[in-house]
Every structure is written in C-alpha cells, then in structure tokens.
Subunit: 346 residues, 2 copies
DNA sequence: TTGAAAGCGCTAACAT
DNA sequence: ATGTTAGCGCTTTCAA
C-alpha cells in the first residue's frame, strides 16, 4: 500500500496554473503576483502540501541526511554523543541515519558501504575495535566524501577529528590512584588498534613514571572487544590477579571494561577498594549508585557530538573542497568516588 | 562540495550503449544478450557503480526507510528496542531514522511532521509522556500511512501494537512484595496519559486486592516525565513518605523512576530494603551491580523491536490496505534481588 | 536484442 | 507575470 502525497502538479491543476508558477509561488519568488501567491499558499495550506524531499534530493544531488557509525548505541557514551549529533543535525535540517558495528570490522565495512550507497551527504565515524584496515573509508574520503571522526579516530586519514584528551584523562586517573597510596596499578585497556587505547595507556604510563613507579608490561591487559564480552574481561582480570605482585588498583579504559570489572569483583567477592581499587572511563549516569560508587573519567559526549556534526555539515556545505582539517580536543572530567577512595565508603 | 557518483549514463557512454540497455543488463533482464550483460557487469564492477537510491525512490514512490519516535535513546529499554528494530530493518533493506521526543508533546508533533515530510515509508512510535492529543498521528494514519505502536500504545487508534504484559509485570512484582511480607506498598508511576501506566497500576491494584490489602489512592504518585527529571521523583517520594502510615515498599513503574528512587534513598540515607523495599520496571543491564542490587521487571525489548518492525514492514509491503490489526503481548520477566529480599543482602 | 521516450516531483533557464 | 521545457538517475513501456 503506497501512501500517495499531494504534489505541486495537483495544486497546479486545481488552480489552473502551471507547475512552475506554483513552485515559484511557494518559494515566494518576486516574479509571481501577490494574488497568485496568496491563492497558491492558501490552497496548499488547505490540502496540507509538503514538498517531496526525494525529488528535491534528486535535483540537488544531496539528501540532507548524514550517517553515523558507532559500535553500540546501548552505550552511554555513544547514546549521549548521538543526542548531541541529532540536536545539531535537526537544527540544520539534516536527518541522521545510525548504524552499529557491534565492534565488528566486517559489519563496519558493510555499514559504510550501505550508508554510502544510500546517498548520505557525510559520515560521522567512531571506528570499531577490530578496525585496522581503512580502505572502506579512505576510498570514500579520496573521492571527496565528507567524513568526520570522533572519539575513536585514525591517524592515517586527514579529516576533521573530535576527541577528548585521553592522555590527560588517564594521566589524571592514574595520578589520583597514586595519591591515594596505591603502588601496584594495572591497566585494563581496549583494543590495541584503537587510538583511544594508545592515548589512554600513554597517560597511564606517564603518570607512573612521573610518580617514580615502574611501568610493568604485565600489568597491562587488552580486551579486543572493549569489554563488550564479559569473558574477555574475566580472562584479563584473572591474568592480572595472577601476577606475582597482585595489583592493588586498576585503571579501566572504557565504559564496559569498567562495569564488567566491577561485575567480576562482585562475583569473586573481591572488595573494592579494600582489595583492589577501581577507576575507569565511563559516561554512565548511574556510577554514583553502583556498589561501591565508581570513580570515573567522564567525557563531554554531548558536546563531542555537537562539535563533530558542526564540522561535518560545515564541510558538506562548503563550496570548495576542504583541505584544512581540524583536530578538536575536549577536556575529560574526573569524578572521585568510593571505588578508589576509602574515606568515602560508608 | 558535492560528491559525484557514477551513473548508468556514464556506463552507457563508455560502452556505446543506451541507458536502458545498461539498466536491463544490470538487472539481468532476459532480453539482453549474454555478451552485453558481461560487458556491462564487468565495467560497472570496475568503476564501482552503485544505483542511486534516491532516483529509485522517486520512481518507486517509496524510500525504503522507516522512522522511529521514542522519548529518549539514552534509556536502556529504548536502545535495546532500537537494536531489535535495526536488526530487522537492515535485513529487509530498510534504513532507520530515529527521532527523540524527550517526553515533550510538542517535540513529538514536530518530529512526526518532520519524518512524515521526509518521505519515510512507515513509522514506529512510542508516544511521549505528555501526549494526549493524537491528531498528528491520526491524520497520517487516516491517509493510509503505516504506523505501528510499541510499548506506549494508544487505544484510540486502530493499528498494529506491540506491548509487554504490563498488568502481569506489575501484578507479579507487587505479589512478590506481598510474599516478602510487605503490607504498605506504594506505587510510583509515570504519566497518567500513558497506556503502560494504566496497565501497570491495574496490575498493582489487583495484586493488592487479591492479597486482601486495601488499595489506597494516596499511595499512588505520578511523575509526568516518567522520572526523567529527578525533581519530580523527589517530590513524589517525599509525598509518599509523608503519609500517616509510611509505605514499607515501592513498586516503580519505569526505568528512570526506579533508578531515581534509588538515588533519592541513597541521598537521604534511607536503607533499602530495611527501611523501604524497591522493585521497578527496568531494562538496565547493571541492576545487579547497584547498591543494593535491584529487583526488577524486565521487558523483552529487543524482541519487541523486532516484532514491531516485522509488522510495520509487512504492512508497508502489503499490496492492499491492511484492515486487520494485531496486538502482540510479550511476557515480562521478574528478577529478584536485594532491594526487595533481605535474605539476599550480603 | 537494443534504443528512444516518457515519467516519478521539483526547479530553473528560457520563452512569451 | 506566467508558461514551456529540460533535466536530476532510473525503470519501463513502446518501437524498431
């Protein structure tokens, strides 16, 4: 069952005018007489005429929609980012089409192809954990297709990028642990391929060095799926806790890593922070209600979404090829709670 | 900067054929000779030709995209539902365009109009807390536009609907409280306008009656924004706790209501379940990590999304007007944890 | 087996 | 001030 909408032709026929006159009247062209305009406007109001955006798209060779690719929308950071993206996109008259990679490289490639073939005008991307090869994106980018990376960016491509200061976030978190007296600080990190992982581990390492603590490779564990699967977190933590010198604190570098850590500790009846302290990157707005409440590094997700979208739409609407790309770095925020600070525990 | 794609015309020119021959060759028409087909296929493969979906849409008068309107994607129930929706939609070759009402009637109306004017083929709707007037939807529906309601449905419109058995969910939750020995059970509910609110309160009331407890109007509080605003939850709980006979248990009927309840209790140092027990509807996958861990009624969100989408696309693709509408009711699931069961508390 | 032409809804250059 | 026409990319009669 198709849904037949009113067209400009219907209006023209009804009023005994040509379609171009109607078209011009609707766009308030100076060439059209006030009376005709009035007639047209009133009639199209009456029959609730809406221009067909598909016809417009075909004509203008643009769809006024942008694509988003993220690993998972059921992740606070990304759902907040998407809120930011939508707030700007809708203001600027763009639709947003969301696709999820579920941390799979293959699904990311399929989604990119799918979206690109659905004539979107630009793409906002946060790559999957598995992504090493960037051909699927570079291909588009080389042909002048607007792409903006956010959060999980890639060095190999010259485009706009919006990230948080991951180095600082991890540095501050680790420093906080040091200041609380922890000396054997391990890191639970996401996929090695991701920019955010490298940056966060960089901050972690620097904080240790600045504190006169030795960086120990065995204290760093990676989870390819960023903690999405409980099992990978379990394996990593088990490995960490089997070290000759057990860690007394953990810095987890992603949302799901952090919460799955807590789940692991709870299962094993490992007390936090008494047996081991925990701080992690997280944008959950329930971290204060967890048991224990979680110390976290929080990213300005909404703002990141807004900023990325502004950059993208700006590029889409630019008259000539954009050659100068910006990298915007936003500040993370540290929240100290019970999971690292004994004095806060009830 | 526009992104110029390859068209059928380019192929035709390059191979010295007409566009119609190319078109037919690409769709493997029986009229085209094997050699021509081969040539066309190979060349279009080589230059990476993709048909322009906008041109197709204009021709076919359908866009192969569907719209979703929910209050908030940063809500576990809805993000899980959207996952279900997308999984089916993508399989069936449809794009999904998401819009959020943020529980505002006005934004819901604007979004419906926006989406409808963007030539989507159908709409999946879960109405906002504020929605009483349905003109914006009825208008479309009357003109034969496919709409499927899920979760928050409306009686006044004859369409496909997918819901959970809210009555049973609330009944079971309340019964569980009774069995745990609570006798003064209050209900914290969402907007009075919502179907889910009425159904859940119905189950609550019936459970009380079946247990020989009296239903007390003063034990029921409504939050217009479904707990999205902490303040409304605070006001409602304060009112409940000021009753002559303080409630000893609370049944919260929505995700944010439940977690904001917990936040309130935590702030006021009210012990759960010792001072007051708490059970609520929630699809968070962290309820086991909260303090105390939360007893919840969980909805099969993913399945609801899948089912709604199947019904919608089925209606979209149906050759003749659909007159028979289905109402699918899925079972909720009860999870008992510390917030209602003292024996589970460590 | 292939090509020419019309049409989907709309706009804009080109008449009148 | 209004109408005619062509064209955006594609499919599909109709002709050859």
């Amino acid at each position: 069952m198709k849904f037949e909408a009113v067209t400009i032709k219907d209006i023209a026929k009804a009023l005994g005018l040509s379609t171009s006159t109607v078209s011009r009247a609707l766009r308030d062209s100076y060439e059209i007489s006030p009376e005709t305009k009035k007639k047209v406007l009133e009639y199209s109001e009456k029959i609730n005429y809406r221009p067909n955006p598909i016809a417009l798209s075909l004509k203008e060779k643009r769809s006024r929609s942008i694509g988003i690719i993220v690993c998972e929308i059921a992740n606070s950071f990304f759902s907040q980012t998407i809120n930011g993206i939508e707030s700007i996109a809708y203001d600027m008259g763009y639709n947003v089409i969301i696709a999820q990679s579920h941390e799979s490289y293959e699904r990311e490639v399929l989604n990119v192809q799918y979206l690109a073939s659905r004539s979107i005008d630009g793409l906002l991307v946060s790559v999957s954990s598995e992504t090493k090869d960037l051909e699927h994106l570079r291909n588009l980018h080389d042909r002048g297709f607007p792409i903006v990376f956010f959060d999980r960016v890639v060095d190999e491509m010259e485009t706009h990028k919006v990230i948080v200061d991951n180095f600082k976030g991890a540095y501050d978190a680790t420093m906080h642990l040091v200041q609380c007296g922890y000396r054997h600080i391990a890191a639970l990190a996401g996929s090695e391929y991701l920019s955010i992982t490298k940056e966060r581990l960089g901050g972690y390492r620097k904080a240790l060095e600045d504190s006169g603590l030795t960086y120990n490779e065995n204290y760093v564990q990676h989870c390819l799926h960023g903690g999405m699967l409980y099992d990978e977190v379990e394996d990593s933590l088990t490995a960490l806790l089997q070290q000759p010198q057990k860690p007394d604190a953990i810095m987890a570098s992603a949302d799901k890593l952090t919460t799955n850590c807590l789940r692991y500790f709870k299962k094993r009846k490992i007390r936090v922070p008494d047996d081991v302290a925990l701080i992690g990157f997280s944008n959950l707005d329930l971290t204060d209600l967890l048991s224990p409440s979680l110390s976290v590094v929080r990213q300005p997700a909404f703002e990141m979404g807004q900023l990325s979208t502004e950059l993208l739409i700006h590029q889409i609407e630019s008259k000539r090829p954009v050659k100068e790309f910006e990298q915007r770095i936003l500040p993370p925020q540290l929240f100290i709670r019970e999971s690292t600070d004994r004095t806060l525990v009830r």
